[in-house]
Amino acid sequence: MTTTTVSTPGRRPMQFAGGWEVGLLVMMALLYIAGAFLNPRFFGSTDALQALLRDSARYGVMAVGMTFVIANKDLDLSVGSTFGLVGVVFAYVFDPAHFDMGVMPAIIACFALGTLIGLINGTLVTILGVPAFIATLTMLFIGRGFVLGLTGGQSILYPIKARDFTWFFQLGETNALGFNNQIVIALVVVAVGAVILAKTRWGYETFATGGNEQAAIYAGIPTRWVRVRAYLFSSWCATIAGLMAVAQDKGTSPQTGLMAELIVIASVIIGGASILGGRGRVIGSYLGALLVFLINKVLREGWPVVRTVEINGQEVQVQAVFTLPAGAVPAFIGILLIIAVLIEPYIIRRRIPARIVAWLKGRPPPVVADAGGVAIVGAQTKGAMASDMAYNAKGFGKFLARRDALAIILAALLWLVGLILRPDYWWYLPNSFALLLNYTELALIAVGLTYVIAAGDIDLSVGAVLALAGSAAAYSLKVLGLDPVSAMLVGLGVGLAAGAVNGFLAVVLNLPAFIATLGMFYIARGVASWLVSGQQLTGWDESYNLIGRKIDDILAYLDIPNPTGFIGAITDVMSIQTVWMILVAVIAGTVLGLMPYGQRIYATGGNRRAADYAGINTKWIRFTALLFCALCAAMAGLINIAYFRSFNPVAGQFRELDGIAAVIIGGGSIFGGYGTVIGALAGAAVITLIRALLQLNVEGFTMPQHWVNVFVGGILIVAVLVDIWVRQNNALGLLRARFRRSSSPTPETVNV
């Protein structure tokens, strides 16, 4: 609070680097020494340092662009798929088997792709107002779908043709000076990015936008362009990184860039940027990338151990390498991301280092900035027009004005479309049964997500928690040999534990729910495949699988003769899981719609501060909603492995996409406060029918799964846009009003 009265302002603050970066370097040196100690064969050599610098170069480049995005208080989850898609586009243009063009057209095509993705991200987030995490997560899934769809899951390699274009492919190789050219590229990009962010108006505008967008707008900063620009930087950096990978590999594989977004975001946050915006340094991000990659390497390379093996009665010491199984690395990096995100609010904002120094020196602790008491935020008035219409509507209009009307009508229409396309198949009862099975899993997830979304949070980890619960139950059944009931309890317990971690991070530690559950997204899936060592687990007691069977099958298992007639028809199509799902949905719907707990959820999601003032324990409400959501996902996981009689590590993939889309189509709002169980069930029906229709074999053509995922991603974006622009801002009504005004000469009186 003291101000210097001297005319010179003193030493100017550092812009490129600071104490944080020094700390990162020390940390890295320590880790490297630890790595060298654990695995001297690998880390002891200079090759290792070379390899580390080379492999981290691509992630360092992506971290540069991501720093701009995060400093703007945005997020770009799509870099990993852009990185992969660049390789595929390059291959399509360059590969002799496809278009067979030169390197330049391929590079131009890649940059065009990067620009397109950046513009789509930027437009969705700024002009169309879609939350950054949901827009870019969908872009990530769509991009991944394109990668798999275009490559058909196969690698594309062109080493022979690459020999004709050494000037480009040399970029991925070691140069005359003895180190890899990619390191040079990374350093150039870092230098350019650091200067732009720290020294130019563009950089200052970025910090202003991230710190307080409203203030930046008042100051005349074009914040939309600033944010679009950052998304463009991020996509271009991902494009450059993709081209670096192309130059090194002379080809591409569908796995390229898988989970790159996790490493890149973790790098930027560890590099000192704040997920709450307004902070970040490019050099710190690059060092962060090196550190994350070093941890990645240490985890992946493993360390040598001496195992004692008994051969022919003799104990023989065998040299071996202990490596972590498949899923462990993403799980650890997910944990790292969560820890890194916590550093800023809990260590830097509370000035812990300065406090420790003051305590050591016996001085009074430094003043901590006031946490803000009761902040005044604008009245939450969204959707004014849409609600007004709902209030004034009559008769059938009353139904149309319901937020879940769209989902109910769509579900009915899609059913009819299926009937017209394939009447033979659609009327066939086992088909309905198969549809209902897909529906059960999604409906359970959507019911859980409704609670979380209505309470104003989000859970991106539902698909991963589904896999985790399934994996835990399968592991208990197969490896531990537990009985089915205990295995189910283990699965549910593990799912609840994941939900509790989500709740703890989001509610107690106050992380934004999307980042807490994004961490869990990687951690849960990582642990799930870690448990089963990345293998499919199968072959356990059939009695467990009964929860995934039809009632008929259960009667047969219990040696009870099948009933006939009407009851027989029902037992023939109904399965335990459907009954279970209906039970959960009825209870959840009653609680949400009719009980005070449900009202508390809506109040919390509508205006958390108002709910707090009204004496509602919003922390408890949000925590229990996240817990319930994880429980629903865990139930879906248990049913999944019972139905397939096995656990597959890819179980529940893309289910977060389906689930969120179902809730939003069913009348939920991504901003919280809305969503009903009936709407979510109808929304889940819409998604299930779309998936079924797209995979319907019409005259010998079936759409591959990857393209279906791309399509569902598109639907999620459209659903969120409809929610924001039609339900909340009444864009249609405004258009109609404008049309009417221009056609009628007398202006309408405005009702004050």
């Binding site: 009245a379 939450q380 009719l594 809506y602 109040a603 709910a611 406060g673």
Partner: protein, 265 residues
């Protein structure tokens, strides 16, 4: 209006001091409020008006000083405790849930229940009753709050406050976002409340509103009390003068100022 000044004060704050780090937000501030009185609280930005009110409701904790309600010392730890003592605050942004309807908002957090379910019939009936009593113009208890205009949202916030049957209502910048018409209606509502013997404190920058309905006006400046006046015996000019050039040392209470004025004439 000086007749109000006799009898037990409803609220008495004595020697309130509060600092945030190195910033002294309030220094030795006194405040009294009598039943049925409308007190205007004015002063520049950062004069400490909102801080003083948050200390009264328990949202902030004072560093020193006393808060007496009905002459009994109190120590509110949160706004819920002051609510039990009959003190209600209406926030500048109304603190309502836009996604819920008028009835649900009036009973926010304490929805009446029958068995495990929300008793919707009773909730809407009681909400309607409160609205009738206040004579505010909200069409229907079934309307979503986000579809109401700012003035009507405020009516809902006031109706919600009234439904707790408070003895003191604090309004934070109530006219800041209102149209002229809505301001008129608000002032009528305040007089209606006064008839029910509810004491009110208005924090406002608009002196004309305070002069329209207020009984007394109190001026804060840089965390200090620089005097108060009876509306009936002062002018906007004088109050502005106190805001601009008043100091803690030259501060007069309303009674002192009245006595002084009587001595001069």
């Amino acid at each position: 209006m000086s007749d109000l000044a006799h009898g037990t004060p409803l609220i008495e704050m004595k020697g309130i001091t509060k600092s945030f780090g190195a910033v002294n937000a309030l220094i030795d501030v006194d405040l009294v409020l009598y039943p049925g009185e409308i007190l205007g609280l004015v002063g520049d930005n950062s004069a400490g008006k909102s801080t003083l009110m948050k200390i009264l409701t328990g949202a902030y904790h004072r560093d020193s000083g006393q808060v007496l309600v009905d002459g009994k010392p109190t120590n509110f730890r949160s706004p819920h405790e002051s609510r039990d003592a009959g003190i209600e605050m209406i926030y500048q942004d109304f603190a309502l849930c836009g996604n819920m309807d008028v009835g649900q908002n009036i009973f926010l957090g304490r929805w009446p229940r029958r068995g495990p379910f929300v008793d919707r019939r009773r909730m809407y009936r009681d909400a309607d009753e409160v609205l009738q009593r206040l004579k505010v113009d909200v069409n229907s208890v079934y309307q979503r709050v986000e579809s109401l205009s700012g003035g009507r949202q405020q009516s809902v916030a006031i109706a919600r406050a009234i439904s707790f049957e408070p003895r003191v209502v604090i309004l934070d910048e109530p006219t800041a976002n209102l149209s002229v018409m809505a301001t008129e209606r608000l002032l009528e509502t305040m007089l209606e409340l006064k008839k029910h013997n509810v004491a009110q404190i208005i924090i406002s920058h608009r002196l004309q509103d305070i002069f329209a309905v207020g009984d007394r006006v109190m001026v804060l400046k840089r965390g200090e009390n620089v005097g108060d006046r009876f509306i009936a015996h002062t002018t906007e000019q004088e109050v502005l003068q106190v805001i601009v050039s008043g100091t803690h040392d030259t501060a007069l209470t309303a009674d002192q100022a009245l006595a002084e004025a009587a001595a001069v004439t």
